[in-house]
């Protein structure tokens, strides 16, 4: 047997899990191969160290506690993602708003703009020509230069 093949089988050899024919062949190789013998010694050392640790028993609710923690962690991650998304949208919205309105005067952003005098003159003009210009908005348009001067 070659070293590579023996090193792959060493852990199973140590645990006594190899078939008898393979186990004999590994034993023969270890007698003549110092490198593989050292590898087996290392495996024996690790097993000895592991045997020194106390055996820990899990509590009766260990599994459910683990599931709870996984769910909580998953929710926290979801919330955190939603929050990040909302903040992202808010920043994008703010940037868009600033891009659109940065050149406008502040009065245009006012939600309740004060109407100009022309609005009221037009209201009057519609009553003024009540007997003549009924249903004739073009006549009001043609005299609206009057209102332009009063803006």
């Amino acid at each position: 047997m070659r070293c590579n093949e023996v090193k792959r089988l060493l852990s199973a050899y140590f645990d006594g899990e190899l078939p008898i024919d393979k186990s004999i062949k590994v034993k023969e190789h270890l007698k003549s191969c110092r490198s593989c013998a050292i590898e087996l010694e290392n495996i024996e050392k690790i097993h000895r160290l592991m045997g020194a640790f106390p055996i820990l028993e899990v509590g009766p609710y260990f599994e459910s506690q683990i599931i709870d923690r996984i769910e909580k962690e998953s929710k926290r991650r979801k919330f955190s993602f939603g929050l990040k998304l909302a903040i992202g949208f808010a920043i994008c919205g703010l940037m868009l708003f600033l891009m659109i309105f940065r050149d406008l005067p502040s009065e245009d952003i006012n939600l309740k703009p004060t109407p100009v005098l022309n609005t009221y003159i037009q209201e009057y003009m519609e009553t003024y020509s009540g007997h003549i210009g009924r249903n004739n908005p073009g006549l009001i348009v043609s005299v609206s230069s009057l209102g332009e001067s009063s803006r």
Binding site: Y120, E123, Y124, N135, N136, G138, S142
Partner: protein, 331 residues
């Protein structure tokens, strides 16, 4: 036989005279019938309207189509900047297309109940405040009655209507200033009462996507509803003494508008949240401790003042002394 002939002839003569007198209508009746005929006659015509403003005559020529069901269409032909503009009044809404501006203005129909109501109130006030006389005349080769409206006990004519004897339609209108200058007029030519316009002409077709649609909705406030908030503005004695009455109250951008009329002259009284900027020609005058803004052009005056955190604006053909009485009355 002869003894029956004389009484029979007398009977025929009497019945003829009676029928002539029975058919002769009073000027008020003629005007009232003309008022009532509006929106109830089908015709196609060309209408020319003119209005003098700032010493300049503003003229429009348009092709008009009217249906007896209260539908109306106007296609502007002149001036060039209005040519192509179109107004459709389908009896519920009016749509004013301005293709050069890619704009459609949607507003109330002239034939809806609130506007008909205002129109009939104007007639009531004309009858109450003015003298109405009439005389037979001819216009467009048709028999008409020319109706004159003048202030009581005055010879100055302010309004003249040419009313068609057959249909009661007003074929021509003229409005004069108190000093006798022509201010406005409109008249039909090429009028055809026989061809009924196609219904399709009065259907509002939604324009292309790039058209901007502006809604000009009017919300009228009834006098009962207004009584809950303010009765002083409706009953302004300085205006009532002159025959003016508040004929409509409606919401306008930034406040409420009270429309006062004496039948011919109109005044708009605005109660506003904020006063708009005044024109550069404004003068500041103080009366009874209140400072008001005053401007005037082409006979139309504007007055604006603030008192007790309320803002008032009045626009109309009105003397300053009446406004000063109103300012004192509202203190």
């Amino acid at each position: 036989m002869k003894k029956f002939l004389i009484p029979l002839s007398l009977l025929i003569l009497l019945s003829t005279v009676f029928s002539i007198f029975a058919n002769e209508r009073s000027p008020i009746e003629i005007l009232s019938n003309a008022w009532d005929a509006e929106g109830k006659i089908s015709f196609v015509a060309t209408e020319t309207s003119g209005m003098y403003m700032k010493g300049r005559l503003n003229l429009t020529v348009s092709k008009v189509f009217a249906l007896a069901t209260g539908k109306f269409r106007r296609e502007y032909l002149f001036p060039s900047f209005l040519a192509g503009d179109l107004l459709i009044d389908d009896g519920r809404n009016s749509y004013y297309y301005q293709p050069t501006k890619n704009l459609v203005t949607v507003g109330p129909s002239l034939y809806d109940p609130p506007h008909r109501d205002i129109h009939s109130k104007l007639l009531e006030l004309i009858v109450k405040n003015y003298d109405i006389t009439s005389q037979p005349d001819k216009f467009l080769g048709r028999d008409v009655t020319k109706v004159y409206i003048s202030p009581k006990n005055s010879r100055n004519v302010l309004l003249v209507f040419w009313v068609d004897n057959q249909t009661n339609l007003i074929l021509k209108r003229e409005r004069y200033s108190p000093d006798g200058k022509l201010q406005e007029y409109s008249f039909y030519t090429d009028i055809d009462f026989n061809s009924v316009p196609n219904e399709r002409l009065f259907i509002w077709i939604k324009p292309r996507k790039d058209f901007r649609i502006v809604e000009r909705r009017e919300r009228f406030i009834s006098l009962e509803e207004n009584r809950k908030r303010d009765t002083i503005l409706v009953n302004l004695s300085p205006l009532q003494e002159r025959g003016y009455e508040c004929i409509s109250i409606k919401e306008v951008p930034g406040g409420i508008a009270y429309h006062f009329s004496d039948g011919i002259n109109n005044i708009m009284f605005f109660d506003l949240y904020d006063l708009p900027p005044m024109p550069p020609s404004v003068r500041k005058i103080t009366t009874d401790g209140i400072r008001y803004s005053y401007w005037q052009f082409d006979g139309m005056s504007g007055f604006a003042w603030t008192y007790n955190r309320k803002n008032f604006l009045i626009i109309g053909v009105i003397e300053r002394d009446i406004i000063e009485k109103i300012i004192k009355r509202l203190k």
